[in-house]
Symmetry: C2
Subunit: 147 residues, 2 copies
């Protein structure tokens, strides 16, 4: 069994898309994260849902959690302010930028090893440099159990 | 809107369950992770799917990725060896043990602030110390967009 056998189609977003669009895609499709592609459609980064949550919580709330309760009535304003005019590229976690993709002919263990190093909820899969889709951590575990 | 309004039922596993059972639950239900409870049923830790992948890849493969390709034919054996006789507690990432839960009457921004600090794909929600369920990062984002 190889990466190409378990790869899935997956929503992608371009690095220069509006950050709010990434939030909407993750929210509406209950995704563990989203794959970010560059202008040529090649895989570039992984944006986990948990990272988006980190991004939308204003720094002053992260630094002083008591504020979160006080500010709650106007949460939409605070979030809108955080996202306004920002591109997807601004939300990316450093360790998941320029992620090395899995190759279509990687074995399941090779994909697992790459995913383990990246600490990512999903990894892109390419064939001759072209994006085939992604493999999520839960999908990989299902493949492992069947191997 | 408060935590109790968006909390979801979610599969849980006890800390002394077999690690293979956790892998099966995540794989079969395509979960971003799983909530680990203590003997009394209280929330104890979060086990992200990506952490399980890290756990099942033998250290010598993580250290030498080339090995992953060579060892591929017997991946099931390597995984079985990693999981054999291990309990769920042995798989937990340090930063997601003893997680402070969200309270049922936390605002959405309070939940977001707690989730942001923990860098977790999901957070347990309690009412008077009793587990109500969890809120995933994607669910939280959906609530934020509606707030």
């Amino acid at each position: 069994m190889h990466a190409a056998d378990i790869v899935e189609e997956f929503p992608v977003i371009t690095i220069d898309a509006e950050s709010l669009d990434a939030v909407r895609m993750i929210a509406e499709q209950s995704l563990p994260g989203i794959l970010v592609v560059d202008a040529s459609g090649g895989p570039f980064a992984v944006l986990p849902a948990s990272q988006v949550v980190r991004f939308i919580v204003p720094r002053y709330v992260q630094d002083d959690p008591v504020l979160a309760g006080v500010l709650s009535e106007s949460v939409a304003d605070h979030i809108a302010e955080r996202l306004s005019g920002k591109m997807v590229g601004a939300m990316l976690p450093e360790h998941l930028v320029d992620v090395p993709p899995a190759e279509f002919d990687d074995t399941i263990l090779e994909v697992a090893a790459k995913m383990a190093r990246l600490r990512t909820p999903l990894i892109p899969v390419v064939k001759h440099g072209r994006l085939l889709g992604v493999i999520t951590a839960s999908r990989l575990l299902a493949a492992v159990l069947k191997s």
